[in-house]
């Protein structure tokens, strides 16, 4: 197969583990050089970088907490300084604090909003300064940004709904520059944040039509498609990869 992202530079926020790490590796496998950000997982980030380098692509890891506006902007600038351009931004950094809404503290709500919404705004604004025709802004939203079937994810769902509308609004502003903006909405995916064996997993699995959790590589494959040339007429779209949860 030809390398569909040959010569492209991608920045993936929250790229040290889970879905983000899978996206970084997949985009690199498709030919891109990648930058990833991480908050605390320096070792995990370094191992993602090493794996990509072993496969013959360039990669860098940048410490940048998604709640720190200056750090996020600096990560975008460092990506451009290192690779000379930026073609694909994947806003993957996100968090969920599963518990009932009434037990959720204000600090926890602020944290979910800061990472899932404010962090996305900041990274996107910084990246757009460098993006040219053919640029790709890709959100990792969630199937619960559109339809919620299980308890315990109230502020998280609200932030992912915000990401969905952010995507739609922004697609209208930057479309004439040839930049597409899309929102990938995973259903339950087996990661540290939402383990298939965890206590919150049973109703989530049952809510999927395929009756299973998804794998990180199944999300990464859709991100790679949207990042690549084949998706050139797709923008402002919310694309679910949820095992039929929202069907």
């Amino acid at each position: 197969m030809s390398k569909k992202l040959e010569g492209k530079i991608a920045l993936i926020t929250g790229g040290s583990r889970g879905i983000g790490a899978a996206i970084a590796k997949r985009l690199a496998a498709d030919g891109a050089n990648v930058a990833i950000t991480y908050t605390k997982g320096a070792e995990a980030a370094a191992s993602v970088v090493k794996e990509i380098e072993r496969a013959g692509r360039k990669a860098i890891a940048i410490q940048a907490d998604a709640t720190d506006a200056g750090a996020v902007e600096a990560a975008v600038e460092k990506t451009v300084a290192s690779f000379g351009r930026l073609d694909v931004l994947v806003n993957n950094a996100g968090t969920a604090i599963p518990k009932t809404f009434e037990e959720t503290t204000l600090e926890e709500m602020d944290r979910v909003i800061d990472i899932n919404v404010r962090g996305v705004f900041i990274a996107t604004q910084a990246a757009l300064k460098h993006m040219k025709n053919g640029g790709r802004i890709i959100m990792i939203g969630s199937s619960v940004g559109e339809r919620v079937l299980v308890p315990g994810l109230v502020p998280y769902s609200a932030t992912k709904g915000a990401v969905k509308m952010f995507t739609q609004g922004l697609s209208r502003e930057v479309g004439s520059r040839g930049i597409t903006v899309n929102n990938i909405q995973p259903g339950p995916i087996d990661t540290d944040l939402n383990p298939a064996a965890g206590e919150w997993a049973v109703p989530q699995k049952a809510a999927t039509a395929l009756d299973r959790y998804g794998r990180v590589d199944e999300v990464a494959a859709l991100v790679a498609f949207v990042a690549g040339p084949e998706s050139s007429y797709i923008t402002g779209a919310n694309l679910t990869v949820d095992g039929g949860m929202n069907a």
Binding site: T208, Y233, I234, L239
Partner: protein
């Protein structure tokens, strides 16, 4: 699987034709279907030049005997059915609600809705027994948004998205995925018939964030993606390929 067996309805023009060519480039075994023998045989010749094994089966998706025969012939020739693209569709007779009739309704719904239903019925007959398969229905921007002067077409494409979601839920336990693509304005004969004049076409483009109509090949790429193992956790979904027209 290295050479999936692909069935495409409405394959002779526009999006269907581009889809057949895209699968051929990926080395599929393809059955193309439509209502015109000459064009069908010409397309088979083109697909063959790309290295694909291809066959044309004449069929009209409004008639169950045709659809049953189409699926049976596909299985008889290639032994299985991995991917079905239910693309046959018509714009009917666009016009205001006040000018519609039982005839104009039937002319649109028989192809777009009954045709999709009958196609899935017989495709699933094979795929469920096989325990695998991927069906892609072709909806439209009008499958989830209204359009003045296009009510019957709009209603028919809303129905296609409903059929898609329901069939996906029914088939999920058997290893068969069912999804849809929803094209926006694409450079095809249908778009020209729909818009009627260059002026109206330009007006339509103004409402598309990417400020252009799409190419049939851009829809074909999404269909090929959904058909593949890369989309293994995607079912019951509709992928909008519309330049941001609906931003749904």
């Amino acid at each position: 699987m290295n050479t999936p067996v692909v069935l495409i309805t409405g394959a002779l023009t526009g999006i269907g034709r581009a889809t057949a060519l895209a699968f051929a480039q990926d080395g599929a075994r393809i059955v193309v279907s439509g209502r015109h023998d000459d064009e069908g045989q010409r397309l088979v010749g083109e697909l063959g030049k790309l290295g694909a094994e291809a066959e044309f089966v004449r069929s009209d998706v409004r008639h169950e005997d045709d659809v049953r025969n189409l699926v049976d012939k596909t299985v008889a020739r290639f032994g299985r059915l991995d991917v079905a693209v239910n693309n046959a569709g018509t714009e009917g007779k666009p016009g205001p609600v006040t000018e519609q009739s039982a005839e104009s309704y039937a002319a649109t719904f028989d192809t777009n809705v009954l045709g999709t239903l009958l196609s899935m019925k017989h495709e699933l007959r094979v795929m469920l027994a096989q325990g695998s398969g991927s069906i892609i229905n072709v909806s439209s921007t009008f499958g989830h948004a209204g359009g003045a002067g296009a009510s019957v077409y709009v209603a028919s494409k809303h129905a296609v998205e409903g059929l898609t979601k329901s069939a996906a839920l029914e088939a999920a336990g058997s290893g068969v995925r069912v999804n849809a693509v929803a094209p926006g304005p694409i450079d095809t004969g249908m778009l020209n018939r729909f818009t009627g004049s260059d002026e109206r076409k330009a007006g339509l483009i103004a409402g598309v964030p990417l400020k252009r109509v799409g190419k049939p090949e851009e829809i074909a790429e999404s269909i090929v993606f959904l058909s593949s193992e890369r989309a293994s956790f995607i079912t019951g979904a509709t992928i909008a390929v519309d330049g941001g027209k609906t931003a749904l």
